[in-house]
Subunit: 219 residues, 2 copies
Amino acid sequence: MGETITHKLKAFSLAQILEMESRFRAQFINSLGGFKSVCLVGTQNKSGLSNLAIFNSVMHIGSHPPLMGLLFRPDVVERHTLENILETHFYTINHLNETIYKQAHQTAARYNRTISEFDATGLTRFYKSDFFAPFVKESTIQIGLEFKEKTVIKSNQTILLIGEVKQVTLPKKCIKEDGFLDLELAKTITCSGLDSYHNTKIIDRLSYAKPDKLSTSIL
Amino acid sequence: MGETITHKLKAFSLAQILEMESRFRAQFINSLGGFKSVCLVGTQNKSGLSNLAIFNSVMHIGSHPPLMGLLFRPDVVERHTLENILETHFYTINHLNETIYKQAHQTAARYNRTISEFDATGLTRFYKSDFFAPFVKESTIQIGLEFKEKTVIKSNQTILLIGEVKQVTLPKKCIKEDGFLDLELAKTITCSGLDSYHNTKIIDRLSYAKPDKLSTSIL
């Protein structure tokens, strides 16, 4: 927080945000919430055609039962991932790492419905015997989910899907004694805005916060 | 993706996840979704008592109108932030940086309702003339929001609040030509799991993905 960064602040009102050119505003507001999870979502339709799409809207919903959310833009254009999940109820969430972020980004292109993004990008479909949807072989952390709930956000018609975690595969050494996952060891990356990818470096882990004493490092 | 990381994988079924000790499972599942945004949410009740709380559940909902989501655990214990937002409709989201993450983490302690976490942690309340809720002076990126919508996730009774961005203050030099915000220049940090804080280092920004050609760096 040096003065060098903060002494020239700029303020924007809602009116000024609404006046921004639309792509500028999309970049601006998509950046505003901070760093985000970025994952590949794998699905397959009933005809056996697989689909793979990058999402930066994966969110933790709860741990008991283990639930994750995924936000979709309004259903105005073809959304193959959304259609497949609603049709088959199964999907996978696969973490990005630095080796595959370019291919992962490329899955956002509007490929024709008959083209699998696995084939188009060269990422490897990987099926597990007991799970309908394909995983990404190059992903270090792979999660299989079952659709539970669909909610439409009234304010802008985005669609929030809630899924239950049915299975997880990850490197054994990423699991710490207390259940914490060392995502840096798994080479998981993060994103910001619409198109920016970042590595991380841990600062600290802090103990459970209590009113009567300051949290300390538990690294 | 060295073989050294991936050759010892461990798989977990839902049944195995449900059998985990509850704090272990909370760490495990909270880590599973990847890196997350971590912010301080500032509120004030009608009596003028301010509240400050750390959240790792801020999410982008849409850019036109500019909307952000905030997820709350089920309403079984006192949730001062949630109560204040529903009572007054205004709140602030303030980015964390490395200078204040310890104080920010400390706001998670269960302070008595009559104690403001600003006072308890030493973070500085900052009011803007036209906005009801307090901002965090030490935060480099400050966002003022108005409550729009409350949705209860049926699967686990968590509460999703949607707010509209009413004003934003940030360092001018963080704003790039295309609207992208350089969060690293703002010193914004990210988090994983329940208690882990991380700096980031940009890998790349990639051009808009199109089916007929591979995305290239736009850094």
